[in-house]
Assembly symmetry: C2
Homo-oligomer: 338 residues x 2
């Protein structure tokens, strides 16, 4: 089995830097767009055979070092009976704004609410047949709350910050419930067979340090602790949070995933050697000429050269219009660099 | 005259920390909403008497230490013949995407394109009668380009980053033209009588350090240098850029304005004593109870205590739904702290 991804998560020596790409199964692939033209997004996620098919699409094209389950961070909110649509961004029918709504939230077990996720994982493990490790994932509680309270993706996510300042105790109850549900959800994926998990904290960066320490970090820690006994490596990805790097590294995850904003060696210097790092090419760099893609990718590798525990990735999800040729150049650069 | 704002810009001793609030003239004020219910946003900006009236509204309510001209960073793009609407966010009729479009851009002098701005400034200086200093402003070239290329405000501003990687030379020509036009525009305001200027770089934070050094910083420096001989203090505000703080401080502005993300004393430690600092209460903190508003504001002041050159402000524009009572608590806290 290709285990360089899992070895890098554990900061063990590898033959070369492993690479996978956030949203590697997605709209930049024509075969994905073809399938999506026939099937709604939520149906793709909820049909194990289709979720598995989409997960495998990028692996058929590219020699990636990990697969990541195709799904969305909001899917497990099904456990709370929260109804949503994707058009294409998520829209939550009834945003959670009041203490009464938060108090009323009760999670069914993930195994009942989203059994299709475990089924997709099992299918994928069979298909992958040990060739490539499979990553599962969930959203971090603050990021999930940002969507739940706002009701949609919106720059700045004002609604959750308003709740945070106006009714901090309400937000804390919500975050507690989300953290517990995510532990349950990740355990379901791990029982199904995922070999690593990533916690996506896409919006923690809108918090200052004091508020991050109270409203984001403890709930990420709760998830990390909740899956620790499984032994699978945990990746904690924070976006837009160069001011929170040291705190984020203290969440207890094996790997800290970072966005493109800070040079990754600066991140390494700030967090020390105790955590592996994942990232951090700017996703927009893939719109540059091949020579620039190669140069930028090489720069990231060079900055991490000699540091045990680096997983090459973009600093955020790959963009829908990204040229396939750039993805090929990126992967070749990583393959040939060591 | 109340000159503690101007003294703080120059890092001179002050009797107490000065305070003004980004977007202090705006939708959180009922008197502004009343006027806006009768007059379109662009008409407000383009009618000197109305722009002056709106500028003065917050000063009638609150003992603020500076006024800031009511306008929008996109207004001076009139000089390029760029047509836009506000609904309420800006929308540019024909986004600038190609080299041909960039090459075709030719700026008329600001004095011809937006004479109403100079008129509003003159009116305001007469009305203010030396009681309160008046701030003028413009957008930073990268931030203006972000809107021009995207055509609207949009999380992540993908279009300008795509141009940056795909056609860097085109973006550089655009940035050059924008910087020159902004120098001309600020000089017009300074001739009219503004006593300080602020350069708003709301979106520079989407750049990594290498790209910021090439596509943002040099054009801000060009503006700072272009208005230096006027002797008015220059404030450079960067949002969401804790990874760029040192570079931003090197732009040559007298004051660095920062968002709420980093504790302001950490910013101070990183940039050294050679630049005044402005900020940085989280605008959402004004949704908290009075005690929390007071505590948060006091915390910012305490972090800057004893450092020459601190201007109290929010870390971003005040939000439309902000309770007036919170603004009163904030201002009282600053007035009574020293």
């Amino acid at each position: 089995m290709n285990d360089r991804f899992l070895r890098a998560c554990r900061r063990q020596p590898v033959d070369r830097t492993p690479i996978w790409i956030m949203r590697q199964a997605g709209r930049y692939l024509p075969e994905y767009r073809e399938l999506r033209s026939r099937v709604e997004f939520l149906d793709l996620c909820r049909t194990p055979e289709l979720a598995a098919e989409v997960t495998l699409q990028p692996l058929r094209r590219f020699p990636l070092d990990a697969a990541i389950l195709f799904s969305d961070i909001l899917l497990p909110l099904d456990a709370f009976g929260i109804s949503m649509t994707f058009t294409p961004g998520p829209r939550i029918a009834e945003p959670i704004r009041s203490r009464a709504q938060v108090d009323a939230l009760q999670a069914r077990p993930a195994g009942e609410a989203v059994p299709f996720v475990a089924d997709a994982v099992r299918l994928l493990r069979r298909e992958l047949n040990g060739r490539t490790p499979l990553i599962g994932f969930c959203g971090a509680p603050f990021t999930l709350a940002a969507y739940l309270v706002q009701g949609e993706g919106k720059e700045g996510f004002g609604a959750v910050k308003r709740m945070m300042f106006h009714e901090p105790a309400t937000l804390e109850v919500l975050l507690d419930k989300l953290a517990a549900a995510m532990v349950d959800y990740l355990r379901l994926q791990i029982q199904g067979g995922v070999q690593a998990v990533q916690i996506f904290d896409s919006w923690a960066g809108i918090l200052g340090a004091t508020d991050y320490a109270r409203f984001a970090l403890p709930y990420v820690r709760a998830i990390v602790n909740g899956v620790r006994e499984s032994g699978v490596p945990v990746i904690y990805f924070v976006n837009g949070a160069p001011h929170l790097i040291e705190a984020a590294a203290s969440a207890g995850a094996d790997v800290l995933g970072v966005c493109w904003r800070m040079p990754i060696d600066h991140v390494a210097a700030r967090v020390g050697p105790g955590v592996a790092l994942q990232g951090n090419l700017d996703p927009h760099a893939l719109f540059a000429d091949a020579a620039v893609v190669r140069e930028r990718a090489t720069d990231v590798l060079r900055r991490m050269a000699g540091r045990p525990g680096h997983i090459m990735n973009l600093g955020h999800g790959i963009l829908p219009e990204t040229p396939i040729a750039s993805v090929e150049v990126l992967i070749e650069t990583v393959q040939c660099a060591n």
